[in-house]
């Protein structure tokens, strides 16, 4: 367990999308993550969403009666990572059954899901705080989506002075007003 945790912390510094805090004035597109391949070094799997992955795995094996064959259930997340001095801040939303996901209808269009959001602050290799709230998750782009939705995404902005993380979501080229939120880290 300790080794897993250490590996995860080490892996934090290898994340390709880590943004330094001094770039905080701009919005950062959240990156898409698929957890089907289990990892002991991915901090999103080991630190941020381990309980959600466990629940999804239990759902597939117990409710859907499908074997996982060493893989995880299809759990996906959006995430941004910021570096602020000794601190690393991970902002992430995960698509789980706790999300409210809009209309199911032949006449409906793409809507965001309102999902669990977690902001994990790590300092000197230790998890300082995990803040839980809700935030918008958007479908991952694929070629079958309408052209206008292939750039849908959620974006974050970290303000180290104010100690806040802001989130906004664009669907079909327009920001969704209900998805614009600012979260305090204090």
């Amino acid at each position: 367990m300790r080794a897993t945790f250490t590996l995860a912390i080490v892996a934090l510094f290898a994340l390709p999308s880590v943004a330094p805090a001094q770039n905080a004035g701009g919005w950062q597109a959240m990156s898409y993550h698929d957890f089907q391949v289990p990892s002991t070094t991915d901090p999103l799997q080991t630190l941020v969403w381990p309980d959600v992955i466990r629940e999804a795995n239990a759902y597939v094996t117990n409710e859907l009666k499908r074997p996982l064959a060493g893989r995880n259930a299809l759990v996906t997340a959006l995430a941004s990572t910021y570096r602020d001095g000794n601190r690393t801040i991970i902002v992430s939303t995960a698509l789980s059954r706790a999300c409210e996901s809009g209309a199911n209808d032949k006449g409906a269009g793409i809507e965001p899901s309102t999902c669990p959001l977690r902001i994990v602050t790590i300092e000197n290799g230790k998890v300082l705080a995990i803040k839980s709230d809700t935030g918008c998750y958007v479908d991952h782009a694929d070629p079958d989506l309408p052209a206008k939705n292939r750039n849908d995404n959620s974006f974050t902005r970290y303000d180290p002075a104010a100690g806040t993380v802001s989130l906004r979501t664009s669907i079909g080229g327009r920001d969704v007003p209900s998805c614009a939120r600012t979260y305090s880290l204090k």
Partner: protein
Amino acid sequence: MRTQLVSLLLTIILCGSVLLSASGPATAAQYCERTNYSAQDITNAVRNSPLRDDLKGTSCSLGGLGRFESGGNKGNYNGSCCTGIFQLNNANVQKYAGTDRAGYGCMSLQDQVDAWARLTNDGYNSPAVRQLASMSTFDGQKVDASFIAACIQLGTGNCQKMLNSGTCSGFADINGTTICKMANNARAMADPNCQDGQAVCGPSGPGDFPTSTGIAANPPTASSASIVVNPTDV
């Protein structure tokens, strides 16, 4: 020279078509075989699903809902959000069927209905559904199981918007389908010969709709009640 010109022309056409297919609008698509399940077929799958028993009581109208959504074609993708017999959106396909849109469109009717049933069961506990189930009518429409299923179908967040507005028009999808209209369509498209378990399709009157807390737990206020029964009268 002529060969080079033909090659150039073919290249331009090929590149153009690739670019068009990459940036053009997605259209409705078909995953796996096209099916034409009847309202009764869908009703039978609902009865065999893990759907809560109180909602199964009006499974005839839920067969109608499946026909309304997909025409009985389980592989239908509407070109934006939704796929399958009940047109589950992309997020709910992943959450409740554990697969992606194409995988879901190729699942059996029963597996699709089972995923929809689990979504509906979860939605039943949402604040919006509890609020709706505590009413006998909403905007002049009877609140019955079809109405409650339509509330969950169009999204409990959207259903809450309708409830907050006080009118059926408080939420409509991009085609103008309201929750009230969907419930009416589901009732109308049920198999006319279908027999529900406890009642014929479309329960009538307050008290016929399912509620997990029981009618006695949701009494009207004394000032609005026409009959007041005191504890000593029982």
